[in-house]
């Protein structure tokens, strides 16, 4: 089944293939959470736990068995790839499926076997590790990212090195536990150690190992339909009108809408990075967290509110620049993993530090105060957030028309051509990551001001994944999808009280992200219709889903 999907995704742009992967992840996780609940299931130890003494250390029998199973698996795989016909075919399918087909080996069959093998090995390791870690979808997903660290040490090609890398990562993490016992500020180190290894290894690996084999595929352009200008303008005026009137309509639910408006910043920031420039960042929650923390500190230090907001955004900029470093060196899947690793590093190593959310892990964040004008109330603050979101929209629209916009679109299509015509694409990448981080940090700051206090929980590294999936289903326009996505993520759940449906959300977003990614290359009438529909709905962005729901509520009341 996954093989079918993988085939459908061939030729999709890099960013979209990442989106699809994320979609699968969200969907499967969502199903697991729905079926088994979010709590960790414990699994009885099924292997003998008796321990024996080896070279002066107590070693559990189960641990020895695990070690041996892993060793056998690694050796088996090594021999398989080296000597069996199917193993060689699998390696061939990576390089040139068509050539393989000419040699009477079905690439489909080879891929199917690869997926089958991959899934069974993953399942095997899950079974082995479950008694140790407990069963929880999120933890096990993180495990996969950690495993990439080991694979990176094996340079993505050497199985023996990968095996050693896996051992080294595990041992290193355990050793760091001892080390940090004496340095309390590094508490997060042991759990984030594998991600540190991953991030650093990806940074130092020779660049040619990081060439995504999908990168050579020329992707057909997305089929964008544009609205007639009059309709677009009408939609804009209507949307603006509704947005201005929201505080007078929705009553006590207003903070939910403010939240949606703040999310617009997040999605604008992602839009610029993912859709315009064909880059990927799974560290966006980290940018927002940094912005939130910086904003809290600046306001406490007595900086005027608007200045503090601006400064908080600027603090996000260097963090964005750091994430641009992997973007310069790699693309596609590797970039996604590296940025995700970076996000987890931020979450585990940096969030707990007192310079982030204070010694208690939580900081108070004020709303703006201007004498005579009511900005601190829910209603006032809604307009503050709306103003910022509209300003950001204008800036993003301007960027699209500017030279930077043209460079970014060029970067998405052919970075090589851009470079050989004299533009330094490294600079372009750093600029777009900085702008994106700036917007996300602004959003983080406003989130804090909305709730009144801020801590690390809303900025978990998985939020970044969720955000990206939602953006992918929110349509193809420039500004409107950011508003649609904001409403999706903040407003819609607030009106649904049924928990099953809420739990279904990640699954739905995941599924539609996959669908959208596949559709992004197909010229099928269905895709045209789908995109047409999404754009039509984008035109009345601020109106339809919300208002329809309100009408339903009124009727019900």
């Amino acid at each position: 089944m996954l093989e079918r999907l993988a085939r459908a995704l061939r030729g999709v742009s890099l960013a979209m293939s990442i989106v699809a992967t994320i979609g699968i992840l969200l969907a499967i996780q969502g199903v697991a959470v729905m079926r088994y609940g979010p709590r960790t299931l414990t699994m009885p130890a099924y292997l003998p736990t008796r321990s024996i003494r080896m070279v002066g250390v107590n070693v559990g029998l189960d641990q020895i068995i695990t070690f041996l199973v892993a060793l056998v698996a690694a050796t088996g795989l090594y021999l398989f790839f080296r000597y069996s016909r199917m193993g060689v075919a699998m390696r061939g399918v990576v390089d040139d499926p068509d050539l393989l087909a000419l040699n009477r080996v079905s690439p489909v069959r080879a891929r199917r076997w690869a997926w089958f093998l991959g899934s069974s090995f993953a399942a095997l390791s899950g079974v082995l590790i479950a008694p140790v870690l407990g069963l929880e979808a999120f933890v096990l997903t993180l495990l996969v990212v950690q495993a990439f660290g080991a694979a990176a040490i094996g340079r993505f090609s050497s199985l023996p090195l990968t095996y050693l890398g896996g051992l080294a990562v595990g041992v290193g993490a355990s050793l760091s536990t001892k080390f940090v016992a004496s340095v309390p500020s590094l508490r997060g180190l042991p759990s984030s150690f594998p991600f540190l290894v991953l991030f650093v290894t990806l940074l130092v690996l020779p660049r040619r190992l990081l060439v995504d084999s999908g990168a050579a595929v020329a992707s057909p352009p997305p089929h964008t339909h544009s609205l007639p200008p009059r309709v677009a303008r009408g939609g804009l005026v209507l949307g603006a009108g509704v947005a201005l009137l929201v505080p007078w309509i929705v009553g006590a639910r207003l903070p939910v809408y403010t939240n949606a408006v703040i999310y617009v910043l997040v999605f604008l920031s992602l839009r610029l990075l993912v859709r315009t420039s064909n880059q990927v960042s799974l560290a966006h929650a980290g940018f927002a967290a940094v912005g939130a923390a910086a904003f809290a500190h600046f306001t406490h230090a007595g900086l005027p509110w608007p200045l503090a907001l601006l400064a908080a955004g600027l603090v996000g900029v260097p963090v964005g620049a750091v994430v641009a470093i992997p973007a310069i060196r790699m693309s596609g899947l590797y970039l996604a993993i590296a940025t995700f690793g970076f996000g987890i590093l931020l979450e585990q190593l940096i969030y707990p530090q007192s310079f982030m959310f204070g010694a208690n892990g939580s900081l108070a964040v004020p709303r703006p105060h201007v004498s005579g004008v009511d900005l601190a109330s829910d209603r006032g603050f809604y307009y503050v957030a709306l103003t910022v979101a509209v300003l950001a929209s204008v800036v993003v629209a301007w960027i699209h028309r500017s030279r930077l916009g043209r460079l970014l679109r060029g970067l998405a299509d052919s970075p090589t051509a851009l470079a050989t015509h004299g533009a330094d694409t490294k600079v372009t990448l750093v600029i777009v990551f900085c702008i994106s981080a700036f917007l996300a940090a602004l959003a983080g700051a406003l989130f804090g001001a909305l709730t009144g206090s801020i801590d690390g929980t809303p900025f978990g590294s998985f939020s970044s994944i969720y955000w990206l999936a939602i953006l992918a289903v929110a349509g193809n326009g420039l500004i409107a999808p950011a508003f649609v996505a904001g409403i999706f993520i903040a407003v819609v759940p607030a009106y649904i009280t049924n928990h099953t449906i809420i739990d279904l959300f990640p699954v739905m977003f995941g599924m539609s992200a996959i669908g959208n990614a596949i559709m992004s290359t197909r010229g099928s009438p269905f895709a045209g219709w789908l995109q047409g529909a999404s754009i039509r709905s984008a035109g009345r962005a601020d109106r339809s889903p919300v208002r329809d729901r309100m009408i339903i509520q009124e009727v019900a009341a």
Binding site: A417, T420, H421, A423, D424, V427
Partner: protein, 262 residues
């Protein structure tokens, strides 16, 4: 063999002692090559002879194991692709690298705009009015020269291979390049299109006076337009001379033209 290596020339692109290895494979072996301004230089050889690898080494897309690349007397071996482009070296690609989601006009204009943006943060973000005009003018001129003005508003991905080749050439011509590397511009073109491409190359030479280095498989095109030809085989230079010399050369015939002529 007493090889007397000539010093690099100062009137264009000059490659000295270039070797590129991929693992154990020697793709280019100790190559000397000159492509001065005002000359149409050909680089031919069978598939896998190392032609595109040589181009990549010239424009900074791969890392040679030995040798140097000079542009107008300056050693650019350690510079990246953008810096070499800034010094006047442009190129096209065998596997075309167009900006597929942009219009033809935008593609061609970006050929100039990319150079204006360079590596300066501010200049990457905004274009002055003056630059904007210059860009449009350069793009219009280049499209006119390549005869694709009527395609200006079409999306690059919607064109035929022949048209796309011309867009790529126009994009390179919109830049202020003094040396252009053209990588198999006639591949995927039919007989008439190739002939038209030859006409355009001759116009470019006459109007712009740039230096062209042409990798090409179509021998009729090479024989027609080139002034000077280098022949590569298995990464080694096996012959160099005028098109007349090539026709007479036994070595070249054996290595390259062999099958047809015998």
């Amino acid at each position: 063999m007493t090889a007397v290596v000539a010093p690099p020339t100062t009137d264009g692109l000059s490659v000295r002692g270039l070797s590129v290895r991929f693992g154990g494979l020697v793709a280019v072996d100790n190559l000397d090559l000159d492509a001065p301004e005002g000359r149409l230089t050909g680089l031919i050889g069978p598939n896998g002879a190392g032609k595109t690898t040589t181009f990549d080494a010239c424009s900074g897309l791969n890392t040679p194991s030995e040798g140097s690349v000079h542009l107008f007397g300056n050693d650019v071996s350690r510079l990246g692709p953008p810096a070499r482009a800034q010094r006047g070296l442009g190129r096209t690609f065998q596997r075309m690298e167009l900006f597929n989601s942009l219009s033809v006009a935008d593609n061609v204009a970006l050929g100039r705009e990319a150079a204006m943006a360079g590596s300066n943060v501010l200049r990457q973000i905004v274009a002055s009015r003056h630059e904007q005009d210059e860009m449009m003018e350069a793009a219009a001129g280049a499209m006119e020269l390549c005869g694709i003005s009527d395609l200006a508003d079409r999306r690059a991905s919607a064109l035929s291979t022949g048209q796309r080749r011309l867009v790529e050439l126009a994009r390179a011509l919109a830049g202020r390049f003094r040396i252009l590397l053209l990588d198999e511009p006639s591949s995927g073109l039919d007989h008439n299109e190739t002939a038209r491409f030859g006409d355009i190359l001759e116009r470019v030479m006459a109007e712009r006076g740039v230096g062209l280095l042409l990798v090409e498989h179509d021998m009729s095109l090479v024989m027609r337009v080139c002034h000077h030809v280098y022949v590569l085989d298995f990464g080694k230079l096996i012959f160099e001379g005028s098109t007349d010399d090539i026709r007479d050369s036994e070595i070249v015939r054996a290595a390259y033209l062999g099958a047809e002529e015998v």
